[in-house]
Amino acid sequence: MSTKKAKAAQPTPQFRLAGAPLDPERLRSELLDARAGGFVAFEGRVRRRNDGREVRSLEYEAYAELAEKEGARILAEARARHPIVAAAAVHRVGHLQVGDIAVWVGVTAEHRDAAFAACRYIIDELKARVPIWKKEHYAKGVPVWVSNRVSARRSPRAPGRKS
């Protein structure tokens, strides 16, 4: 199949887990397409403070089989809800340091409205639904398995979970 023909087909939205540091430039270049007038990316990064405590590092653990299925479903939903060209999302597993990218979401669309909206939808749904867990290591004290707060923006139909 020639490259031209492959590009003409609708790319299947991709979600995957990655054990190594993410390369956002490469992820973006893999997604870019001549049909895309807009590209939006979100990078979730490890920040220094959480709930007033200084984070030194953290670990992500995933239930890989189910995470990949649920991530693929979320990307398919984003495509069904918004007129996008392509979307991809990658989530780290393993040990991360402050400043590392934990999750990358990229969306291309002909116009910016769909790209922004789909990107927001994808990251919100990933946080709410994908079986991934985070253990924070602090400057002081024992490590803690943390959980996500339920976002007020999520649709009422979706099950929420208290942190």
Binding site: G44, Y60, E61, A62, Y63, E65, L66, A67, K69, E70, H91, A102, V103, I123, L126, K127, A128, R129, V130, P131, I132, W133, K134, K135, W145, V146, S147, N148, R161, K162, S163
Partner: protein, 80 residues
Amino acid sequence: MKQVRVQYFAVLREQAKRGEERVETNAGTPAGLYQELARRHGFTLPAAHLKVAIDDEFGAWHAPLPDNARVAFIPPLAGG
């Protein structure tokens, strides 16, 4: 007795001191299975805070537990 393969993640994995195990059980549902395993391993998370997966798909706590199922208990999520 049913045979199931149970996977543990995050805090449950630490409390069980293993990532998975094969279990013989008479539990009729995933909820019943969790009660047994919580007693055995001293899990501190109540079932109300967990989700359950059967054969790598989100499942229902009170549906029948199939023989030879792969079961996973899912602590509160923290992805993204």
